[in-house]
Amino acid sequence: MARRSAPLLRRLLSSPPPLPGHGGGGARRTVTYMPRPGDGTPRPVTLIPGDGIGPLVTGAVQQVMEAMHAPLYFESYDVHGNMPAVPPAVIDSIRRNKVCLKGGLATPVGGGVSSLNMQLRKELDLYASLVNCANVPGLPTRHKNVDIVVIRENTEGEYSGLEHEVVPGVVESLKVITKFCSERIAKYAFEYAYLNNRKKVTAVHKANIMKLADGLFLESCREIAAKYPSIEYNEIIVDNCCMQLVSKPEQFDVMVTPNLYGNLVANTAAGLVGGTGVMPGGNVGQDHAIFEQGASAGNVGNDNLVEQQRANPVALLLSSAMMLRHLQFPSFADRLETAVKRVVEEGRYRTKDLGGDSTTQEVTDAVIANLA
């Protein structure tokens, strides 16, 4: 008992200034979280370190979780992007544990192998991908007041994988949009906005050209929007959306998109606030969730970073905080998030992408030292 209250007391006495921003990172809580009996039992989580910088950043998460004595333990599996398929044991483990933390899997360009990331999403029906792009306090960027959540349909659209050569030199690719998938992603987006006190949902589309396909997507969004009168709903064409993102990003709140546009919008938004090294995210379906770096563009395969052990663990640490909250360990989530944000804000230990020259380990140690 004494051991548990000591850090609490210390925190109350020193009372660091609460961090601004969403999620209420360091705010002192006035009402405690009352768990159900047994909620403190350690929970198994499937871990896929993956390729490239993956093992480095998942290693950082493991260390921090251990230092916090977080009530979870990892079942680690070796999966690599060049495998023909995700091993069944991994899928079974995720089905059992419901929650997975993933480092990142390389996707070979133009090879015969299909993307393992996509296989995981399809197999577990993780239909929503979520990236949270918000300014991290203390990190200088070109844009201020950015706090965007991109919710992307993850299973169909341009990523259907249906392609064929009609005659030599002419290739067709099918974009498939269904009412079912459009409706459930719209539902998820509005539910997310509602549960997180977000005020606006913006649907991104190109229905002026793809009248039927993106038209169906919009129609579904409008139907769901009608059920949430307290949340503002608007629509924006994808090219204009990207232009607005780079000039006035503060106008956006929650964005809901078909597959490909979401990929682009999320990466653009991530670029605005510091890049993929700091953006948390994950994929979620009815029964399972995989947490990973929010936007992964070009990050997995950076051999240089791996060699020098200088990959940025911040994104995956923040994703892990999302995971802790998802597992209903809110206080652990807050502590982790506060510690990570404090390290970034202090600025002494930052990796190269944030203008510093620290190694992954140095950042991880700093986070552990800042745990309240």
């Binding site: 360009v109 133009g110 070109r142 099918l174 039927l212 936007a295």
Partner: protein
């Protein structure tokens, strides 16, 4: 270096072998006929600005003005008349203001009509930060080249069963080679060092794969130009973090649409972005890509910069390099000085005051 290239501007190369029918002569005394579509809304005002500037700079161009009709022309299935299209085909060169397609059925969109009828296969947009006009990005100096005829914009869509819709993306070897060829040709004639092909071939292996294959084939013919391939999501992120890393970008239709607008956003919006469409047989149709802004039309408030810069691209295409240079510098100087700026750039000047300032700088 970058500034010098900016001031020199860009030469729009005509494709070799395609411009047989379009032999331009720039000898003194000869006038060139060009088609002008002033367009709707603010179009006529900003077109007037261009005419004034051309007059002051002594550009020997005679405009053939064409307006969008009030009735659908059955020969084009659009409000654009056959005569207008013939005019562009004959002159091989044109300038177009913003056009608003009237809502309704039974006719094609105006832009689509132009694209299809004139075979405009490549859209070229140079994006340069304007010296003196502060945005969050001041190191942008890139050119986007977009395939304009196929890809996701094929218009082929159908409902498979209720609630399931398919849309076809078509990539052909012919169209991909054509746009790649133009991109490398452009890079070479404009002293650019690098061409980046933007794709998503890790997911769309066959379609985007074919596009990449064509780009690689063309790249081999231009060993002096560096060729690289960038996945579109990574491209988006790099553009907003560090746009200075890109030079010439070539891409399929949808990606081009998105990236070119994103780049326009970097330098201050569509009101400052010139654009030019390259068509079969050496046609060059320069255009302002912004909207017709009906809310400020007729109020002498519109910003004519985009149309002026597009007109400069047209002049370079005609190899009126001297006049193009002078007009371009005059525009840059006027904006850099900041005394005469229109409302969208945070100034108070009217269209005519701004135009006069540009004319004075020539």
């Amino acid at each position: 270096m970058a500034l010098r290239r900016l001031l020199q501007g860009s030469v729009l190369p005509r494709m070799m072998g395609r411009s047989v029918g379009a032999s331009f002569s720039t000898e003194a005394g000869e006038t060139i006929r060009a088609t002008l579509f002033p367009g709707d809304g603010i179009g006529p005002e900003i077109a007037e600005s261009v005419k004034q500037v051309f007059k002051v700079a002594g550009v020997p161009i005679e405009w053939e003005e064409h307006y969008v009709g009030t009735e659908v022309d059955p020969r084009t299935e659009s409000f654009l008349t056959w005569e207008s299209l013939e005019s562009v085909r004959r002159n091989k060169v044109g300038l177009k203001g913003p056009m608003a397609t009237p809502i309704g059925k039974g006719h094609r969109s105006l832009n689509l009509t132009l694209r299809k009828e004139l075979g405009l296969y490549a859209n070229v947009r140079p994006c340069n930060s304007l010296p003196g006009y502060k945005t969050r990005y001041d190191d942008v100096n890139l050119v986007t080249i977009r395939e304009n005829t196929e890809g996701e914009y094929s218009g082929l869509e159908h409902q498979v069963v209720r609630g399931v819709v398919e849309s076809l993306k078509i990539i052909t070897r012919q169209a991909s080679l054509r746009v790649a060829e133009y991109a490398f040709h452009y890079a070479k004639t404009n002293g650019r060092e690098r061409v980046s092909a933007i794709h998503k071939a890790n997911i769309m292996r066959k379609t985007d794969g074919l596009f990449l294959k064509c780009c690689r084939e063309v790249a081999e013919k231009y060993p002096e130009i560096i060729y690289e391939e960038v996945i579109i999501d990574n491209c988006c992120m790099t553009l907003v973090k560090n746009p200075g890393t890109f030079d010439v970008l070539v891409m399929p239709n949808l990606y081009g649409d998105i990236i070119s607008d994103l780049c326009a956003g970097l330098i201050g919006g569509l009101g400052l972005t010139p654009s030019c469409n390259i068509g079969e047989g050496g046609i060059c149709l320069a255009e302002a890509v912004h909207g017709s802004a009906p809310d400020i039309s007729g109020k002498n408030l519109a910003n004519p910069t985009a149309l002026m810069l597009s007109a400069v691209m047209m002049l370079r295409h005609l190899q009126f390099n001297d006049q193009a240079e002078r007009i371009h510098n005059a525009i840059l100087q006027t904006i850099a000085e900041g005394k005469y700026r229109t409302a969208d750039l945070g100034g108070k000047s009217s269209t005519s005051d701004y135009t006069k300032a540009v004319c004075d700088h020539i």
